[in-house]
C-alpha cells in the first residue's frame, strides 16, 4: 500500500497551484458579483493542460487520469470553488464523448473541448427532477435523418458557456428508452433558458436549456439508441461524483487554511486564539475531516485509474466530502467570530460554496441509496 504522490503528481500540483494562485484571484470579485464564469481563463487553462486532463493525447488532451484530475480540481478549489465546479462538468462532457463517441464524434467534439475552445456540459436533469432519470419528459423522436427533441433541462452547469451539450432524452418508455445526443447550441430549435442566480459557487454558470422541435442530425446520437441510461449513469457515477467530491475537497482545504491562519493571527487575552482549547478542538476536527476526505477522494479516483469499479467509492467520497466541507466551514466561521460572516473574509464564501456542492450532482440521500444497496448486498437472503 502506497499513500505517497509520485514526483510527477507533486509537480502537477505545484504547477496548478501556481496557475490558480496567480490567475484566479483577480477574477473572483467579478465572478461573485456577476455569476459569470471567466471565459478568458479557458485558453490559459488549456495551455496548462487543465481542460484536457482526461482526454487522450490523440484528441488534444494530456490523458493523465483521475488521480491527476483530482489534484487539479482540489488545487483550483483551494483558490475558488466555482472553478473546479465548472471544470469537473467540462471533464464530464469530455469523458462521455471519449467513452461513448465514435471516432468522428471524438475528432469533431473532443479536440476543441481539450483545447479550451468551448466548455463541455452534460444535461440530464429535467424540471421533473434529476434523480428520477427514467421519469424525464424531454423526448427525442427519429424523423428521417434527424432526431426531433422537445423539452427542457434545468440546473445544467456550463449551460451557457458550452457550444454543444450532451443531452439525455427519451426515445421510448422505460429504462431502456433513454438515449444520449450531442446537441449543437446553434441547432434549429435549441434555446438557452434562464441563468440561475445561485448563492454559492457563483462563478460557475448554471442554467436552463430548452428544445422546441430541435433538430439533431442522426449521427449525433451518442452510443446506441436506448443506451442513454448507461451513458448517464457511467458519466455521473464515475466522472461526476469524483469531480464533485474533488470540488468540495478543494473548498475544505481552503477552509482548513483560512481557519488555521485566523486562529494563529487573532489575539485575544494577549495570546493567539489558537492557544485556546476550544479553538484547538475545532482545528483538530477540521484537520481530521480533511484527511478523511482526501483518502476517500483519491482512493475513488485511483480505483477509476486502475480500471476498477468506483461507483460506490465515488458516491461515498461525494456525499461525505460535501457534507464535511459544510461542517468545517461552519466551524471556521465559529473560529472567526463576527469576522466570519463579513464579506471581506473568505470563510463566508467557503460556506456558501460548500452548501452548493451538497445537492449538485446528486444529493447525499441519493448517494446513500446507492451505498445502502452495496452495504446490504452481503446480507441479502
Amino acid at each position: 500500500m502506497d499513500f505517497k504522490f509520485s514526483e510527477r503528481e507533486e509537480m502537477l500540483r505545484k504547477a496548478v497551484r501556481e496557475f490558480a494562485e496567480n490567475e484566479i484571484p483577480p477574477k473572483m470579485e467579478a465572478m461573485e458579483e456577476t455569476g459569470e464564469f471567466p471565459m478568458e481563463l479557458l485558453k490559459p487553462m488549456a495551455e496548462v493542460g487543465i481542460t484536457g486532463i482526461l482526454t487522450p493525447a490523440e484528441y488534444g488532451g494530456v490523458g493523465l487520469g483521475y488521480v491527476a484530475r483530482t489534484i487539479v480540481l482540489e488545487e483550483l478549489g483551494r483558490v475558488c470553488g466555482a472553478m473546479p465546479m465548472a471544470l469537473q462538468v467540462h471533464h464530464m462532457g469530455c469523458a462521455v464523448i471519449n467513452d461513448f463517441g465514435t471516432d468522428a464524434q471524438k475528432e469533431k467534439y473532443l479536440v476543441p473541448l481539450a483545447k479550451g475552445e468551448t466548455m463541455g456540459c452534460v444535461a440530464v436533469t429535467d424540471p421533473t427532477g434529476g434523480s428520477d432519470v427514467v421519469g424525464m419528459k424531454t423526448s427525442a423522436e427519429l424523423k428521417g435523418d434527424k432526431y426531433i427533441l422537445n423539452g427542457r433541462k434545468c440546473f445544467i452547469t456550463n449551460s451557457h458557456t458550452s457550444n454543444y451539450w450532451v443531452v439525455i432524452a427519451k426515445t421510448a418508455e422505460g429504462a431502456k428508452g433513454l438515449s444520449a445526443f450531442i446537441v449543437d447550441k446553434e441547432a434549429p430549435g435549441a434555446k438557452l433558458g434562464r441563468k440561475e442566480n445561485k448563492f454559492g459557487l457563483r462563478g460557475a454558470n448554471t442554467g436552463e436549456l430548452a428544445f422546441d422541435n430541435c433538430e439533431v442530425p442522426k449521427e449525433n446520437l451518442l452510443g446506441q439508441e436506448g443506451g442513454g441510461l448507461a451513458v448517464a449513469i457511467k458519466t455521473i457515477s464515475e466522472t461526476g461524483r469524483t469531480g464533485m467530491a474533488a470540488t468540495a475537497l478543494g473548498i475544505l482545504t481552503a477552509v482548513y487554511e483560512e481557519a488555521g491562519k485566523f486562529a494563529t493571527e487573532r489575539v485575544l487575552y494577549g495570546k493567539p486564539i489558537s492557544t485556546l482549547q476550544a479553538i484547538q478542538f475545532y482545528m483538530a476536527e477540521i484537520y481530521t475531516q480533511l484527511e478523511i476526505c482526501r483518502l476517500l477522494c483519491y482512493r475513488a479516483s485511483w480505483l477509476k485509474d486502475q480500471g476498477m469499479r468506483c461507483d460506490n467509492e465515488g458516491a461515498m467520497a461525494k456525499y461525505y466530502t460535501c457534507e464535511a466541507a459544510v461542517n468545517a466551514a461552519k466551524k471556521a466561521i465559529e473560529i472567526h467570530g463576527s469576522y466570519g460572516i463579513m464579506k471581506e473574509y473568505a470563510v463566508q464564501r467557503l460556506l456558501r460554496d460548500a452548501v452548493v456542492t451538497v445537492p449538485s450532482g446528486g444529493t447525499a440521500e441519493i448517494a446513500k441509496v446507492v451505498l445502502a444497496r452495496a452495504a446490504l448486498a452481503p446480507f441479502k437472503k
Partner: protein, 270 residues
C-alpha cells in the same frame, strides 16, 4: 541564424527557499547560517524570467536551452521544474567542496560549468536572488568568462545574423544597446511573464537529462571554491526584531498635547 551549436543559451538558476515559508527560516547561532531544513525550494523567481527569455529565443530561432545550477544533489527536482517549463537539459554542479562558496567562488564554479558545456551564445541569469540579494554573481561570471555583461535588462530582442538589441534599466530611464553574442545578461522581472508549467512539459521533462558534475569533472582550482576560495567573510548575522516603539507622555492634558504635537512634527508625520 547560426547553427544549432552556436545557438545555445545557458540559463543559471538557483534553488531558493520558498518565500511562503520564510516564517519557518531560523538562524543557527553557532554557524551563523540560516536553517533551511524542511523549507520547500523554488526556482529563484527572477531566474524564471531568464528562462522564459531563453525559451522564447529558442522557440523563435531554434537551438538549445541548458540549465546550469550549483547546488546540493537534493536540488535536482528544482532543475526538473525548469525542464518541465521547457529547457532541453540541465547540469547540476554538486560537490561537498563547493559548500560555503561566496559569490566569487560560485562564479568560478559556474564559469567552469559554462566551459564544460562548450560553445554558447548567451548566458542568462536573474538579476539577483531572493535569498542572497547580492546581484554579484552574474558580473563575476562574465568577468571570469571574459565576456561582456549587461545587467538590469528589461528588453531583449535576438535578431537573425548575430545581432541583439538589449534594453537596460538605469536610474532615470532606459538605455538601448546593441550587442553581439556571446554575452552574459542578467534580467529584471519587467522583461517578460514566465510561462506556466504545462502538464505536457512535466511529462516531457521525465525523459530529459540532468548531468550531475563534481569538481572532478570541472577541475576548478580548490583554492577558488568553498569557504577557502571565498574572500567574503561573514562578520556577524543577527535577527532584527520588529516591535512598536512605546513611550509614555506625562503631565497635564495641555502638556501632553504639546509633547505629542512636537513628536508628530519631529517624525515628519505632518
Amino acid at each position: 541564424m547560426a547553427d544549432k551549436e552556436m545557438n545555445r543559451t545557458i540559463v543559471c538558476i538557483k534553488p531558493v527557499p520558498d518565500p511562503k515559508h520564510w516564517n519557518k527560516v531560523s538562524m543557527d547561532p553557532d554557524t551563523q547560517t540560516l536553517r533551511r531544513e524542511g523549507i520547500p525550494g523554488i526556482i529563484n523567481p527572477l531566474d524564471k524570467h531568464a528562462l522564459e527569455a531563453a525559451l522564447s529565443i529558442r522557440d523563435a530561432h531554434g537551438g538549445e536551452v541548458v540549465l546550469l545550477s550549483m547546488a546540493p544533489p537534493f536540488a535536482a527536482p528544482i532543475l526538473r521544474e525548469g525542464l518541465a517549463m521547457g529547457a532541453d537539459r540541465a547540469i547540476l554542479l554538486s560537490d561537498p567542496v563547493f559548500a560555503g562558496s561566496d559569490t566569487l567562488a560560485t562564479a568560478h564554479i559556474l564559469a567552469a560549468g559554462c566551459r564544460w558545456i562548450g560553445e554558447f551564445d548567451l548566458v542568462l541569469c536573474g538579476n539577483m536572488t531572493i535569498d542572497g540579494s547580492t546581484a554579484q554573481v552574474c558580473s563575476q561570471l562574465a568577468e571570469l568568462l571574459d565576456l561582456p555583461n549587461v545587467m538590469h535588462v528589461t528588453g531583449l530582442d535576438r535578431q537573425a545574423g548575430d545581432k541583439m538589441t538589449i534594453t537596460q534599466k538605469i536610474e532615470h530611464g532606459h538605455v538601448r544597446l546593441e550587442a553581439k553574442p556571446p554575452i552574459v545578461i542578467s534580467v529584471r522581472k519587467e522583461l517578460n511573464k514566465p510561462r506556466y508549467t504545462s502538464f505536457t512539459g512535466i511529462l516531457a521533462a521525465e525523459s530529459k537529462t540532468i548531468d550531475v558534475l563534481s569538481n572532478k569533472e570541472l577541475g576548478v582550482d580548490p583554492n577558488h571554491v568553498g569557504l577557502n576560495g571565498s574572500p567574503t567573510k561573514m562578520a556577524g548575522l543577527e535577527l532584527r526584531e520588529f516591535k512598536r516603539a512605546r513611550e509614555r507622555v506625562g503631565g497635564s492634558p495641555e502638556e501632553i498635547v504639546q509633547a505629542l504635537l512636537e513628536k508628530i512634527h519631529r517624525y515628519g508625520i505632518i
